[in-house]
Amino acid sequence: MKRISIYLILFIFVLAACTPEIEEFSPTQGEADLSNFVAVGNSLTAGFTNGELYLEGQKHAFPKLMAEQMALAGGGDFNQPLMVDGTGFGNRLMLGIKEACDGEAGLAPVPYDQEFNPENMISIAGQGPFNNFGVPGAKIFHLLTPLYSNPQGGNPYFARFASNPGNVSVMDEVMATNFSFFSLWIGSNDVLGYAVSGGENTGDSITSGNLFQTSLFGILTQLTSNGAKGVISTVPEITNIPFFNTVPYNALVIEDEATRDALNLSYEQLGITFELGPNPFIIEDQNAPGGVRQIKENEYVLLTVPQDSIKCAQWGSAKPIPHYFVLDEEEAAKVEAAVDNYNGIILSVAQEMNLALADVNEILSKSVTEGLTYDGIDFSAEFITGGLFSVDGIHLSKRGNAIIANHFIMAINAQYNAQIPRVTVSEYQGIPFP
């Protein structure tokens, strides 16, 4: 009898030996209807990364990642105007080894190693209706004009998937779908075009606050006209991105006295002096005496400045860095003021229209001031090593897209009492190193 009871106890224990169980998380859509989600915006929404829009980037676009999570909470398919391969329109960059003019080789963005495929230019309008209406390069008012789909003078990325090129606006196309939920992240290009071309006198201007407000109101009125709910994002303070923060203002390093003395002599009349060690670059400035001056600490040398010209052709020292590679104090202030203004408008409109608000600006600012950590990975706004931004220094990496997707998801969950699961940031690939 005792023996039997021992066996019984053993048996119970063995039965209990199976894996422990935790109650599964059950996603819900709350008050939102996620069945047909459309994403409206610019390159960030399209999945543009590494300097180009291409297949793999599109598959990791933050709205695509959101849609995959929404599908667990009642969401449907998310049809994108996909490129046919990894080359897009041929401007893709990757991280490679580049030999500089002085013979030194180092890690740098280099052109992608596969040849451009013209099939990427062929219209795929027939594959619609689409869910991703992110158009690389779009400013806010572009979304409302039919000219934007024109193959000549319009936007080739949009012309490629517009149903009636030359006659439909992005918003016309959006409104032609039967969407139930939307995301809108727009406004970066309204300052970026100006900033990445070095500010004034370069052919691109900042969108005025009035135009921004009118356009935003027009877009949101349409998006909410059929009763759809949605999420809207703030515009990132673009002077935080690596494109403006990778080349230090004082990267003119003078190593020997002869060079220093020669520079001191040639700039003597302008009252500019040089020291051994790091010095501020010499930049072009039409308002400065002699048309040149030293760059200030709060001014930005663009990522696109030719490094070889600095290293071997005396740019920034004997010759000034051209103004279109520099965002000066005044220009940067204009950019920052415009972004602040846009964000003020976005915040008040979101509140007024009861939309979910993803404050992407806040999270990107945090990446600069204190850094971000997810799944044991540290992120910052540093170029390449920071992990958030792709090799172009402007657009998000795969993990950057995952982080932004989670911020949109959490904003939707908070506003609409939903439980859309977040993506797992560590499941996405980091920036590939050679």
Binding site: L10, F13, A17, F25, I97, D375, G376, G430, P432, F433
Partner: protein, 410 residues
């Protein structure tokens, strides 16, 4: 004896999951395991070399030998912090802590003994590609203690004993690094090291009456100071200079001090009841610091906070002598976590745990017994995060541990 031990060491990949909080393992005697791992205040055989050296003079026989091992089958499941549908599960190797003891009485008062046992160990394998791989992929650590012991009986009621501990430890771990190669492969580091150090185990046994026994023991902290462990980095080629391939590291891992109190009561000729309280000074484990021999701007020494709490375990058990051949036993314990909620690194799954155990001793002859035990450990669901890595969720743990031992005494 020496040969047997060397053989055992060869065969053992001691990779046990955690008992007694942190990475402590208290499976040092199958009779004790069957009773909820009590042993400080109850004298059952030469296992007292570990449980309470002060009890050796109270052993009935002149010579006592014990040998045994346990098999640990453990599982941890994980669900990422809500809202998330991410789940993961460990594939932990089968752990085999062991013990071997021999004790003898030199005179009426003086006893000596020697034991080898594995009081600390942990083996957790989350796999190469799970979401927490930048914290840990897999880790295996274990310590073997060898303890020569001397004990003295002061009078009929009181015995004291002390053992010198020679501790050997070994740790191997793999973790991923957030760097990706152009073929999509991920960087990682494999770290491996072993070391040895000294400590002691002291105990007092007090028997005020024939029915009652009390025990109190102290095992000292042993700091495993690893020097020149191997750190092998696998990184994309362009970063090889930043992560020297055959680097070395120094690190310290504490095996904390424990204070144990136990008592037992012989309720009748057949029935003995016992309890144990174990206090482990886990707060000594403040952080895990890897000091790399070659540092680069990308590879700095790393300081990983652990901030463990002191830990208490309460145990009760009983054994019932059915006849001259059979003794049955059962017990239970409640174990509190040493790992804090916000410093929970999945390398050491820790939780509030309930242990239930049972077993028997079969004595075919007067000098020989066989012990069998089974222990089921149920971890309570735990929401925890490793704050420095911002990685957390719900963890749940369980384990089944069968064990077998033999004793020879004359």
């Amino acid at each position: 004896m020496k040969k047997t031990f060397a053989l055992l060491l060869l065969f053992i990949v001691a990779n046990s999951l955690t008992y007694g909080g942190g990475y402590q393992v208290l499976l040092q005697g199958n009779k004790q395991t069957a009773m909820g791992l009590v042993g400080t205040g109850i004298t059952l055989g030469s296992e007292s070399i570990f449980y309470n050296p002060g009890a050796l003079p109270f052993l009935r026989d002149k010579y006592s030998f014990s040998l045994g091992a346990s098999g640990i089958m453990s599982n941890v499941v994980f669900q990422k912090e809500a809202p998330s549908v991410y789940e993961a599960e460990t594939d932990n190797p089968f752990g085999t802590p062991f013990y071997i003891y021999g004790a003898g009485k030199i005179s009426d008062k003086l006893s000596i003994g020697i034991g080898a046992y594995t009081p600390f160990g942990s083996s957790t394998d989350w796999g190469e590609s799970w979401a927490g791989r930048f914290l840990i992929q897999d880790i295996s650590l274990f310590a073997v203690y060898i303890q020569p012991t001397v004990a003295y009986q002061i009078n009929d009621q009181l015995g004291i004993g002390i053992g010198f501990i020679y501790a050997m430890g070994d740790v191997t771990l793999n973790k991923a690094l957030p760097l990706t190669g152009s073929d999509g492969s991920e960087a990682g580091v494999n770290m491996e090291g072993s070391t040895a150090n000294y400590g002691f185990n002291a105990g007092i046994t007090y028997r005020p009456t024939d029915q009652l026994e009390f025990g109190l023991t102290y095992r000292s902290e042993i700091l495993m100071e690893m020097e020149g462990g191997d750190a092998n980095f696998t990184v994309p080629q362009s970063l090889a200079a930043s992560f020297p391939a055959e680097n070395e590291f120094d690190a310290e891992l504490p095996l904390p001090a424990t204070i144990n109190f136990g008592a037992s009561y012989k309720a009748s000729e057949q029935l003995t009841l016992a309890l144990d309280i174990n206090f482990t000074q886990w707060s000594t484990y403040d952080s895990l610091i890897f000091d790399f021999k070659t540092n680069t701007p990308s590879l700095q020494d790393s300081r990983n906070p652990r901030l463990y709490d002191d830990n208490l375990v309460f145990r009760v058990g009983g054994r019932y002598k059915a006849n001259d051949q059979w003794i049955v036993a059962a017990g239970a314990y409640y174990d509190m976590p040493a790992v804090k909620d916000n410093y929970y690194n999945p390398e050491t799954p820790d939780a509030h745990k309930l242990g239930l155990s049972a077993g028997f001793t079969y004595s075919p002859s007067e000098n020989f017994d066989v012990d069998a035990s089974i222990l089921y450990i149920m971890g309570f669901e735990r929401d925890a995060t490793y704050e420095p890595g911002k990685f957390g969720g719900t963890y749940k743990y369980n384990a089944v541990v069968p064990g077998l031992g033999i004793n020879y005494h004359f």
